[in-house]
Symmetry: C2
Subunit: 404 residues, 2 copies
């Protein structure tokens, strides 16, 4: 398996585009994106668990009930959430897209991200769709990834190439992370494309299983958004024998999917609001997977630790503290902690107590942009990883600025 | 019932003191406090649920097994947590205090707050105790409250006067809030004194019941410290008929205790690290108490909302979002939200959707120092309140500064 360029268009049979249609005032920022598969694809999605849900989520959910889709339409600048006519607008977006592509409305994935509680005017979308369709291209991944950004500072694209049943296959993905806009709501959107032939049942299984170890392990600030959605389309253009059960081919597909999703998780976390550092908490030797995950998430969510990482402060007490209140059944007296980056590794805690370490060395390790917080529970064999970012002045600035 | 001066010494039969013994380098800051009851008192305590526990907590727990205590010794500057000889040091602190006061070691409540993972030298404590005992006074509450502070910016004292069985009674309290020290660990410590006669069983019941609606509803940053402890002593000097069951007198005691604890909660929250505002989330018309509490805590813990409050931004979408991901069984379409302060009240959300409001008026309301976030679930009769503070640049600064 190798990582390649091309994002969502690396998978065969997909085109994408992104335009500025006018939802945003800034005319240099694309705000409407389209992904199109030349062949109807099996499709699966997972949605936010927030009780407050964007209107687009209900419409997409209905459209994916049959397990198929052929296109994704997504706007940024307005989340179309908590609006009285939200469903109606989401349905109009779908219908306009379907008509322009000459496909079934039921094969459209529709998504919105941005402001909540403000009516979304369909006019700019209606006006933008012809342009979107006209500019669909095999090189369109970057434009599409820009069109879904809110306050993301970088585009998030990834693709992998691998072999299934002797056929060269691909999975590509784009994402927008936790960014706020005026007046705002954090939202994670991920759109994944593949040319693998895989049944809708197995695709659903693969996605549902993968996200428990990937997107569900990312935390920017502990807030779960109303519009989070991860979708995957698989159009079978690669020509491999269709994956219909949990065999070796399915395993290969799962590994490729995981490579895509883990990379997107890292991109989302490192571009968290105001973030200067990517934090990765890797827990090993846990008694169970559940314990490993609970501990990893608790550490990555600690505001105290996040602020310490911003300050490049090897404050292992905060790691131990976060493990202690995680609710996981852990023997604190067995816990080892170390901080690691490309500058080296510093062991800071052994058997639940501090050990002498060089503060200079620790600072050198923590001044890097990507920090691993390694936690060994010494109590079993399970592992888990969670991704997050540091807590910075800019996070407060972005989220505390006057909305008006 | 009326609020009076005097803090922990407002209750009859109590003396207190606070000195600088040398744990802290800053010679102008007291770092060792003593509270002494002239009569052995019934006593109860609640402790942090963090699996990482300060050594003093185990020693205090053992001493309070019989339900009695007569003195409290507490140092700041070092939490005596995650140290190999922690228990030994805590026992020495107890013994030195008991010997100096000529009381049983088993009647000592011992507490520490400050740095974790650094050995606590008993020498300054040993040297300071004679001074502490010598300066015990009926006016010592302020000194004692200073001696337990870490980065708290204000002393936290309160007392109430009320009548039980025809006798004038008192409850006083001091607290230290979530503050960090160099290198740090947030800790909440609360010491409450009363001259009421109440059995140890009823005292324990009163405290355990009260904290579920008070200290357990305070959040500064979602991190639960290793050394949190709330203790109450009741020495019976007021001469009321001993409270031994849940009768009217118990109700009066409970109300007085609640007045003390709610006031301390508000003081702790408004002096949260870097805080510029006290946030109070009041939830009403909930289907159950549990739902009301879950919703109130979720709102008060949202980093996004906390940052918005810092910016005086009436971002009701973040309130709704936090309710939505709280996990509580809530009908979002029934939820009303408003922001209130002494400058007025602005309704911002009705039936789960935004309603027009004046941004100017909202800003005026939110520029105040004490903000109420009012949430009506319109689904029942239960209520709950949670306390917190805004998320500010200073929080990041205090917690992100280089430890070294």
């Amino acid at each position: 398996m190798k990582i390649i360029d091309g994002g969502i268009c690396a998978a065969k049979g997909y085109k994408a585009s992104g335009v500025h249609c006018g939802i945003r005032k800034n005319r240099t920022k694309r705000d409407l994106s389209l992904i199109y598969s030349e062949k109807r694809a099996t499709a699966a999605a997972v949605y936010t668990t927030n009780l407050v849900k964007g209107a687009t989520l209900s419409v997409t959910k209905r459209h994916l009930e049959d397990g198929f889709a052929q296109a994704v339409i997504c706007n940024s600048g307005n989340a179309n959430t908590c609006n009285e006519n939200g469903i109606e607008i989401a349905e109009q977006m779908s219908k306009l897209t379907a008509d322009a592509l000459n496909i079934s409305e039921n094969d459209i994935v529709v998504a919105s991200t941005g402001v909540i509680g403000q009516p979304l005017d369909i006019t700019p979308i209606k006006d933008g769709i012809p342009d979107l369709v006209k500019t669909l291209s095999n090189d369109g991944s970057a434009d599409a990834s820009e069109g879904i950004m809110t306050t993301d500072t970088v585009k998030k694209e990834i693709a992998v190439e691998f072999t299934v049943g002797g056929k060269v296959c691909h999975i590509g993905g784009i994402a927008k992370g936790s960014g706020m806009i005026h007046p705002n709501m954090a939202t994670m959107l991920v759109f994944i494309t593949s040319d693998v032939a895989i049944s809708k049942e197995m695709l659903k299984k693969a996605l549902s299983s993968d996200i428990t170890n990937t997107f569900n392990m990312v935390s920017i600030d502990g807030d779960t958004s109303t519009n989070d959605m991860v979708t995957v389309l698989a159009n079978g253009v690669a020509g491999n024998p269709e994956i219909t059960k949990e065999d070796g081919d399915y395993e290969i597909f799962m590994q490729a999917l995981n490579t895509v999703t883990v990379n997107l998780c890292r991109m989302i976390a490192s571009d968290g609001e105001g973030a200067t550092k990517l934090l990765e908490c890797k827990v090993d030797t846990a008694k169970s997977k559940a314990i490993a995950k609970t501990v990893a998430k608790s550490v990555i969510c600690s505001s105290l630790l996040k602020a310490a990482m911003f300050g490049a402060d090897a404050n292992w007490g905060r790691v131990l503290c976060a493990i202690g209140y995680s609710g996981a059944d852990v023997d604190i007296n067995k816990v080892d902690v170390s901080f690691k980056s490309k500058a080296g590794e510093v062991k800071v805690c052994k058997n639940g107590a501090g050990i002498p370490f060089s503060e200079d060395e620790a600072k050198t390790v923590l001044l890097e942009k990507e920090i691993e917080i390694l936690v060994s529970l010494n109590d079993g064999k399970d592992t888990a990883t969670a991704w997050g970012c540091d807590l910075t002045y800019d996070y407060v600035k972005i989220n505390g600025d006057y909305r008006t």
